[in-house]
């Protein structure tokens, strides 16, 4: 079992119906949170999340906002879980990523996903059906843009002439992470040799299965994945006692799962079919199942250490500890982060 890295997240900057906030307040809080996490060497990475045109202002521009995070911090790495890559222009993403990597002194973990909400593709006038093509061609463009020499790419979705992207990133090898929900994306990520970010909707057993699948595929393709990281998003919360942690975090977690993920048909029922607001009972059941999964990383430090060790035992090497819940008192939130950094991570 390799060493388990812990990142924190996932910052979405939402002003929800239940917890409306001024956006300037939310962005200020993000910068303060980032500086707070930066103090703890045990927290490896700060992770952001993206959506577009959602009613509550869900953050749409991760690399731009990451510029602010980079300016607020000195040490912590900055990752995207994930940038909805198929909805963007790949060349522009490559340019912004390179600038961000210079600005931050090489602290970028570029996390990419396909994106799935119809409404977002429609807003950018991009046909959702070609998202896989855009993703795969886009990854190729980013790779060429980061390397020395011109991009020179002629594909079905993108056409980039004989032009060299400058500046280059600071890191000679910017880590690329791919958000992988389901077997096909895992196969794709393995073929690329990319690190993966697995869904927060997986049980331990499913997690182990998907990580095994990744390594099996990599071997089939003959790709060296010795440097790839196996990441997973887990919701979590640390307090002095289990009871306190449940009282603080569980209602917010339930709200997050039902209202937010329900609205996107992100949750699935036992047959793997997406569940939305049209099936309220199934949605509740799906949310409850997930609460049970995440409950293992909610509690006093000793309990969360145990929960994280279980995750490490599946082959996972990076946990995105998802502590961002709506409307929680700030002092308690910072206390949870501090306990994570000082009492949990050093003892995993």
């Amino acid at each position: 079992m390799g060493e388990l890295e812990i990142g924190v997240g996932i910052w979405s900057l939402q002003s929800t119906k239940a917890g409306p906030r001024h956006f300037a307040y939310l962005y200020k809080e993000l910068m303060e949170d980032a500086a707070f996490c930066d103090q703890f060497s045990t927290i490896k990475t700060i992770w952001q999340t993206e959506h577009h045109f959602w009613y509550d202002g869900y953050c749409p521009s991760l690399l731009t906002v990451a510029g602010g995070i980079a300016a607020a911090t000195k040490r912590i790495r900055i990752g995207q879980a994930a940038l909805l890559f198929s909805q963007h222009e790949a060349l522009r993403v490559a340019q912004q990523a390179a600038v961000l990597d210079q600005l931050s002194g090489g602290r970028l973990d570029l996390g990419l996903a396909l994106g799935y909400r119809d409404n977002e593709f429609d807003g950018f006038n991009i046909d959702r059906r070609i998202r896989r093509h855009r993703f795969e061609e886009g990854v190729e463009i980013v790779g060429r843009a980061f390397a020395d020499g011109p991009v020179n790419f002629a594909g079905d979705q993108f056409d980039v002439p004989d032009v060299e992207v400058t500046p280059k990133p600071f890191q000679s090898d910017v880590p690329i992470w791919v958000a992988a929900v389901g077997p096909d994306p895992i196969r794709r990520a393995a073929r690329m040799g990319a690190s993966i970010i697995l869904s927060d909707a997986l049980t331990l057993e499913q997690l182990r299965h998907q990580i095994d699948l990744y390594y099996t595929c990599a071997e089939e393709y003959g790709v060296d994945v010795s440097h790839a990281k196996m990441g997973v998003l887990r919701r979590g919360w640390v307090a002095e006692t289990d009871d306190e942690a449940y009282r603080e975090a569980l209602p917010s977690l339930r709200f997050l799962l039902r209202e937010q993920l329900g609205g996107w048909r992100y949750l699935v029922d036992e047959k793997g079919e997406p569940v939305g607001f049209d099936r309220p009972r199934d949605l509740d059941a799906a949310a409850d199942r997930l609460v049970n999964v995440h409950e293992r990383t909610i509690g006093r430090p000793e309990k969360v250490v145990r929960g994280l060790r279980e995750i490490a035992a599946t082959g996972c090497t990076h946990v995105i500890f998802g502590t961002r819940f709506d409307s929680l008192p700030r002092a308690k939130y910072l206390r949870s982060l501090e306990l994570l950094a000082t009492e949990v991570i050093p003892n995993i």
Binding site: L13, S15, H22, F23, A24, L26, Y27, K28, M31, H52, F53, W54, D56, G57, Y58, C59, P60, S61, L63, T64, V65, A66, G67, G68, I69, A70, A71, A72, H88, E89, L91, R92, Q95, Q96, A98, V99, L100, Q102, L103, G105, G106, D118, N119, F121, D122, G123, F124, N125, D127, F158, D159, V160, P161, V163, E164, V165, T166, P167, K168, F170
Partner: protein, 340 residues
């Protein structure tokens, strides 16, 4: 008159200096400018240049917004390269990070072919981009159909199938209206007239060309911005000693990137273009622009990345103490002005 620092270009100006340090120094220089009373700090943007000019005003704009507290944050994105919605979202984020301090000075593209863009004229494209930006930042959901944008997509399987034909860009900027300027030469000037926004001449255009470009772009009481190469020291001689090579170097790099024409001598290049000298010289030069063009907002570069960071900081301080008051402190008694 108001003053800004920049635009910061962050290119590789001195091969012995790492670019990562140039970025950090630039951020520190903006904090110095804020401390010494400047009104704004500016992030430039150019694409695919051989000397690695900053290629994302948005990413750097967010960094400037985070490091500063009071000054406005000027971002200078190149328009017309991609769907304008991306920029609309990025600016909204910067405006919230800065709590409503953003100014956008949109630049005319010269890079559209590298971006695979072979459509019709630049001005039509820029007009359309500006229309999309304004709708995106406005309070209402919108749709937009033009030669360049179809928002939202016209298809029968997604949102339109559900009877929705509009999009709302989220979040909205913090300020009521994001100030929008346009930067470039004749295309930008023409655009400023058509859209009714301030024309913002770049630093490389000489005074002789500015009269025509600024003509009919100004509305009563509106901002009239201008960018200039500026460097200041205690004596004019010392200012030249410190900055002439640095500015010449910048123009060589800009010429290599095709952004300016080659020149014969530095004196020729500097004439009616650069403001280099002691406080008195700088003040005198700035009055010329004020009188001849009606300029009331000068964005002064001062920060040249091949120079020693400390020299830049000293120049920013001196400009703030010795030049800015002349234009801002109306009625400043002579006796106080003369105090060192």
């Amino acid at each position: 008159m108001r003053f800004g620092l920049g635009p910061l270009t962050m290119e590789i100006a001195d091969p012995s200096k790492k670019q990562v340090d140039v970025y950090e120094e630039a951020l520190e220089q903006t904090v110095t400018a804020e401390w010494w009373g400047f009104d704004s700090v500016w992030a430039g943007e150019r694409h695919f240049t051989p000397d690695h000019f900053n290629s994302s005003a948005s990413v750097i704009g967010a960094a400037l917004a985070q490091r500063t507290e009071f000054v406005r944050v000027g971002v200078m994105p190149v328009l017309g390269l991609v769907n304008a919605m991306y920029l609309a979202e990025e600016v909204a984020c910067i405006d919230n990070i800065s709590n409503g301090r953003t100014i956008v000075a949109a630049q005319v593209p010269t890079e559209q072919e590298q971006y695979g863009w072979r459509g019709s004229g630049t001005i039509e494209r820029m007009l359309d981009d500006i229309a999309v930006l304004r709708k995106s930042w406005g309070p209402n959901p919108f749709s937009h159909k033009s030669e360049f944008h179809t928002i939202p997509m016209e298809n029968d399987v997604h949102i339109q199938a559900r009877g929705i034909d509009k999009i709302s860009v989220q979040p909205k900027p913090a300020q009521l209206e994001v100030p929008l300027w346009v930067s470039g030469s004749d295309v930008a000037s023409q655009l400023a007239k058509e859209v009714g926004v301030p024309y913002f001449a770049p630093a490389h255009l000489p005074l002789s060309e500015l009269h025509d470009l600024y003509a009919d772009t100004q509305r009563e009481g509106a901002t009239v911005p201008l960018a200039r190469e500026v460097f200041i020291a205690r004596t004019t001689e010392h200012a030249h000693e410190l900055a002439a090579d640095a500015i010449a170097g910048l123009y060589k790099r800009m010429a290599r990137a095709g952004l300016v024409k080659e020149w014969d001598s530095f004196e020729e290049l500097a004439r009616d273009r650069f403001i280099i000298g002691d406080a008195e010289t700088c003040i005198e030069q700035l009055y010329r622009y004020q009188e001849q063009l009606g300029v009331n907002y000068v964005v002064a570069r001062i920060a040249y990345h091949s120079m020693h960071h400390g020299e830049t900081a000293k120049a920013v301080q001196l400009f703030g103490q010795a030049v800015v008051p002349e234009f801002r402190m109306f009625g400043l008694p002579d006796e106080i002005r003369k105090l060192a």
